[in-house]
Homo-oligomer: 208 residues x 2
C-alpha cells in the first residue's frame, strides 16, 4: 500500500525541550523517522515522506521518496489524498515502537477508514479506502476523523494497538521507548544518557 | 481461566484528587471494577476480586467471588498464585477500556508468562502458566516481571493492546475514557460533569 509519512522538519519535537536541546531533538526526530520507514518497508509498503523541508540524502536511508510541502499538515496530507487513488496509509513519523505486525493489523482491516488512535485523542495511523475522506489533524483528530468518516458514509474501525498508540511527544513518552523499544530510537536515547527514573507512580526519564 | 482482580478498597485513586473528591474517587473506582468484572465474564473467565477490605453486596454485581486480604498487593497476589493451579489471569481493576476481545488476545497467548503492559512500566494484566512465577508490582513491574520469568526459565510474550495498556490513574487518563469508552465508566464521568478539554497538544479533561 502507498504510505505517507508526514514529517515536520523545522524545529521538531518542541515538547521534548526540557530533556533534549534543539540539535538533539532534530537528530532524534530523524532517528524515529527512519525507524518508521523501515517498519513500513518491512511490512511491505512503499513510504513517501511528506516533509515540510528538503531532507539531506543520508537521512532518507533506507531509500524513500520525499515530497516537500511546507503547508500545514492537514492541507499537505489532503493534497496527497486528492492526488492519488486509495487505499492510502498515513502514518506519523514519531512511532518508534511500531512493528510490522502492528502496521499489518491496521492495513488488514477492511473498513473504509481504519484508525490507530494516539494518546490524548490523536490519530497516529490511518488507512483510507474511501476516496472522499479528508483528514483534519487539529485538536482531537480521532473524534474528527470518526465524524468525517460518518459524513462521507464510510465504515470506521479502530485498531487496538499500544505500539501504534505510543507517539513520542513528551518526556514521559521517552520512558516507553526505553521500556519497550529494541531499535535505533532506544539506542539513540541510551547514547544520549537518557535513563529510566523509577518512582512510586509511572516510570519517567532523567538525564543524570 | 481463573482470574484475580486486585482491588484497593481504601481511599482508591488518589492521583485523581485534583478532579474527583474522596467519595467520587471511591464511587468511580467501583464503577471501573464492575466494568472489568463484566469484561472478564463476557470473555468466559471467572473473576475473584482480591480486595483489601470487604465489599458491600451491591458493588459485587455482577456476581463475583471476593477474597479479602489487607496485605500489600504483591504479597496478596503471590498468596493466590501459591494457593491454586496455573494458569491464572491477574487483571487490574482500573481498565474500563478493556474489551473481551482484548482479554482473549492475552489469554490465547501460550507463553509461560504473557504480559499486557501499562503506561509507564506497569503490568496491567498477566497470564501465568508457570507455577514458580511470582509477581512484584513495585516500581517498573513490567521489567521486573520479564526478569522474574527469565529467572524461572519461562517464556515471555508481550501483547500489543492499547485497551489493556490504558490504566486509569491520572487526570489525563480520564480523557481516554471519554474518547474511547462506551460503557458505565464513561457514563459516570459524563454524569459527574467531566468533559474533554481540547487544546494544542493531547486532549485533557476539565470540570466546568
Amino acid at each position: 500500500m502507498r504510505a505517507i509519512v508526514p514529517y515536520g522538519a523545522v524545529d521538531p519535537k518542541t515538547r521534548l525541550n526540557s530533556v533534549l536541546d534543539t540539535d538533539e531533538r532534530a537528530a532524534f526526530a530523524l532517528v524515529m523517522l527512519r525507524s518508521v520507514l523501515t517498519t513500513l518497508r518491512d511490512a511491505g509498503h512503499e513510504p513517501t515522506v511528506l516533509s515540510t523541508a528538503p531532507l539531506a540524502e543520508d537521512v532518507r536511508a533506507p531509500s524513500a521518496t520525499v515530497a516537500v510541502d511546507d503547508r500545514p499538515l492537514t492541507t499537505a496530507v489532503n493534497e496527497q489524498l486528492a492526488a492519488a487513488d486509495t487505499p492510502r496509509l498515513i502514518m506519523m513519523a514519531d512511532l518508534p515502537l511500531a512493528t510490522p505486525a502492528a502496521v499489518t493489523g491496521l492495513t488488514a482491516d477492511t473498513a473504509d477508514i481504519a484508525i490507530a488512535p494516539g494518546l490524548g485523542g490523536g490519530t497516529n495511523a490511518l488507512v483510507v479506502r474511501e476516496p472522499a475522506f479528508r483528514v483534519d489533524y487539529h485538536g482531537a483528530s480521532y473524534l474528527d476523523h470518526r465524524a468525517a468518516a460518518a459524513d462521507c458514509g464510510g465504515t470506521v474501525s479502530v485498531v487496538d494497538s499500544r505500539q501504534l498508540a505510543t507517539d513520542i511527544d513528551e518526556p514521559s513518552d521517552l520512558a516507553e521507548v526505553l521500556l519497550h523499544g529494541d531499535g535505533p530510537a532506544r539506542a539513540w536515547l541510551e547514547d544520549a544518557g537518557i535513563e529510566l527514573a523509577v518512582g512510586d507512580g509511572r516510570v519517567g526519564v532523567r538525564r543524570p
